[in-house]
Symmetry: C2
């Protein structure tokens, strides 16, 4: 009999590895931060004695979801500037608002709200790209959520950096601070091709390769971006990135609503990772990422919510459902983008995109205990013919009962546990009452 800290038992366990397995009456044994065994509940209980045993009687246990693209603090701008064309939305609403509210308190509170919302919906890892990433790191470490912080690199002066070089200096300093941290990692976050000079973009590509750092970049978000690139430099941003070493398995290309066949081949040949943000792309009328073609070419595709200002939610289950529905529609094939495939995209797809697949994304002995439980007794999920469909096409984001990150319960019985994010509704309302910019 081996001892461990926690056993979680459930009628259904979907480990994602192997990809399509649905295990009934299984248990997960956890020691410290790590999964040490998965097996039939009878076997696990015979072989392990645990300090705690969480017996879930009407739940699906699965890996925590991975939200691969977010601008977290923008939760505080949720619902501002609705139904505007993209240019007016950015220039008349978002940028002036950000300028008016940007400070430590805004980033801290907005990130707390985002993390709370993500944990309640079953997300255990997210990637952020926002100003004052030092504050974002503090929030993540305080709460205990896993994160990649892609610090924003932009040519022009902004609330965090005076130039691209300044952003690089500050971001790499944050990387130095965090380089031994198990939960929070730093990545390079060049905002986009068009918001950096040619030399700056090349320099960032070179830093990524030299320092072995992941790079997350908005790439081919709109047709306009691609048309402008062709006009100003005679090639697309994907082609430019290929030339300067900014494609590869360490690069996370976000949005990708415009991809020619030749560009798809470049992405596939370099094993570049693609982040699909379906809701945001629809809401801003940016287009649609051809996920089926990318996946058929062997490309790892992950899912992101984007910021709450263009979504307005941070519910990755909702993105997985949207990704499935849009792929069926776009391909005129009801059999496309199965629930199993979308669950993979929302978990291992995200882990692979972030280079974290040895740590999280599936339930396997040796990986971190990043896992969630979904209550299948909710009326909108009954009856249960197919646990994959219940998760993806039911309303699983509103039925998450437990969220564990590295073995710690951050949501238990549907309630957030970390002290710093209780009473958030009241704090957000107070902030809004005082700071309300519009």
């Amino acid at each position: 009999m081996k001892s461990c800290d926690l056993i979680i038992s459930a009628p259904w366990v979907l480990p994602v590895a192997p990809e399509n397995a649905a295990l009934s009456e299984h248990s997960v044994a956890i020691s410290g931060e790590t999964i040490i065994a998965i097996g039939l509940t009878d076997d696990i209980l015979q072989n392990y004695s645990a300090a705690d045993h969480l017996k879930l009687t009407h739940h699906i246990v699965l890996p925590g979801l991975i939200n691969t693209h977010c601008h977290s603090a923008m939760t505080l701008l949720r619902g501002a500037g609705e139904d505007q064309p993209l240019k007016a939305w950015l220039e008349e609403t978002i940028w002036p608002l950000e300028a008016a509210v940007m400070n430590d308190e805004y980033v801290t509170l907005g990130t707390q709200l985002a993390v709370a919302e993500m944990l309640l919906c079953g997300t255990t890892t997210f990637s952020d790209m926002y100003f004052l990433p030092e504050k974002v790191a503090e929030v993540c470490l305080d709460i205990g959520i896993r994160a990649q912080l892609s610090f924003p690199i932009i040519e022009f002066a902004n609330a965090w950096s005076s130039s691209a070089d300044d952003a690089l200096d500050k971001g790499l300093a944050l990387h130095d601070q965090l380089k031994d941290n198990k939960l929070v990692h730093v990545a390079l976050g060049p905002h986009s091709g068009y918001s950096l000079s040619a030399a700056e973009l090349e320099h960032i590509a070179e830093v990524g390769l030299r320092q072995n750092l992941p790079i997350q970049i908005h790439l081919h978000e709109t047709a306009q971006e691609v048309a402008d690139a062709h006009q100003s430099m005679g090639q697309s941003w994907i082609e430019r990135c290929a030339e300067i070493g900014m494609l590869g398995s360490h690069v996370q290309a976000v949005h990708m609503t415009q991809v020619s066949e030749a560009e798809l081949k470049l992405i596939a040949d370099t094993d570049t990772r693609v982040v699909h943000c379906p809701t945001s792309n629809l809401k801003l009328a940016s287009g649609y990422c051809p996920t089926t073609a990318l996946r058929e070419a062997g490309v790892t595709v992950a899912l992101g919510t984007d910021g709450a200002a263009s979504n307005n939610r941070l519910n990755l289950f909702a993105e997985a459902r949207m990704a499935s529905l849009l792929a069926k529609h776009a391909g005129q094939n009801a059999a496309a983008a199965t629930a199993q495939e979308m669950l993979y995209m929302a978990t291992m797809g995200g882990a692979r995109a972030l280079g974290m697949e040895s740590v999280t994304g599936s339930l396997e002995a040796g990986k971190a205990a990043d896992l969630i439980a979904v209550d299948i007794n909710s009326l909108g999920m009954l009856p249960m013919y197919n646990p994959f469909a219940a998760l993806i096409h039911g309303d699983a984001g509103n039925a998450v009962s437990h969220t564990y990150v590295a073995g710690r319960a951050l949501v238990a019985d549907g309630q957030l546990t970390p002290d710093s994010i209780t009473n958030l509704a009241q704090r957000v309302q107070s902030w809004h009452a005082v700071r309300r910019p519009i």
Copy 2:
């Protein structure tokens, strides 16, 4: 000082009439089944004394939503036969399953589950099209939800009717029974052009006109349906319906994913109502209803979930969000399909489609007290810049605290009140355990 039964006060009231009004610190006064006044809370409290006063401190009050197309009992088939092409889904899964489970218990329990789910998500009126409509009527009357029952008329023998004539006889008998009922109305439900003979379809059109009955029909759901019609009869089903008097303000054309310019003109000129079921159309890869073009032509467009077997949810707020996102995407215009317009579509649009606009669909003195309250303290809806956006792009379907139909609270503080639908989860699981067809 006038007396009334109930006053509901809230920081926000969105009455939908006038269409874009957002009233702050308003109250609704209700007497029996009817709204008798709406005004500033201070004024209402000065002029009305109520037996009950519901003081909502962090809520939006608005008209109940109208789910204009559903096959309710199919909730019990939710999640069966996922990710199949349409033909296999129908022929290999849905039809054999229905044949295996169809009986009074299935229709009663499945409809109860559907109504419970809809009430919890803020729907106060729905239109159903399913076998054994007498059982559906019993459930609706028992619970007290408003409904249109479009009884299914199909050429071939099925669990309810032996022929189209038999369906008409039974359905019209149900209509006779219910013709003085305030909550539940009967409509003609010819399944589709292709599932009836030419003579039968003409006969139904004639019955509709003669008896002044609404008609709901699946029309142009798929490209295949349109192609087949052109091949077999040299015209589309819309054109055929125009010839036989089956277009008009009493006709609810469901799906409409294929609409030529000439057909759009026929729909607009006859004031035919269109029911958009965006999620179901995507999930079955049927196509997309051109809602913006229809609305610009003056057509009343309403929203439906379709049955849970092809959705898998009955959350009309989710359909309103999907309708907005798809219209922005299809029109390549982020300013299209505003939250205000989608709220209208989900309320007055539905009421107009069902011919119930004098009774429900907006909060106005004299109309039925069909209204809901949405809790805006939920983390995913904060902060509150814009109540329309919070409802449509937040997750309002999961934040409904109260649902009133004709002045009766069917959901209070997030809990269902009718006795017959408490303990539903257990009853559904028991049914599934015993009857489970796959």
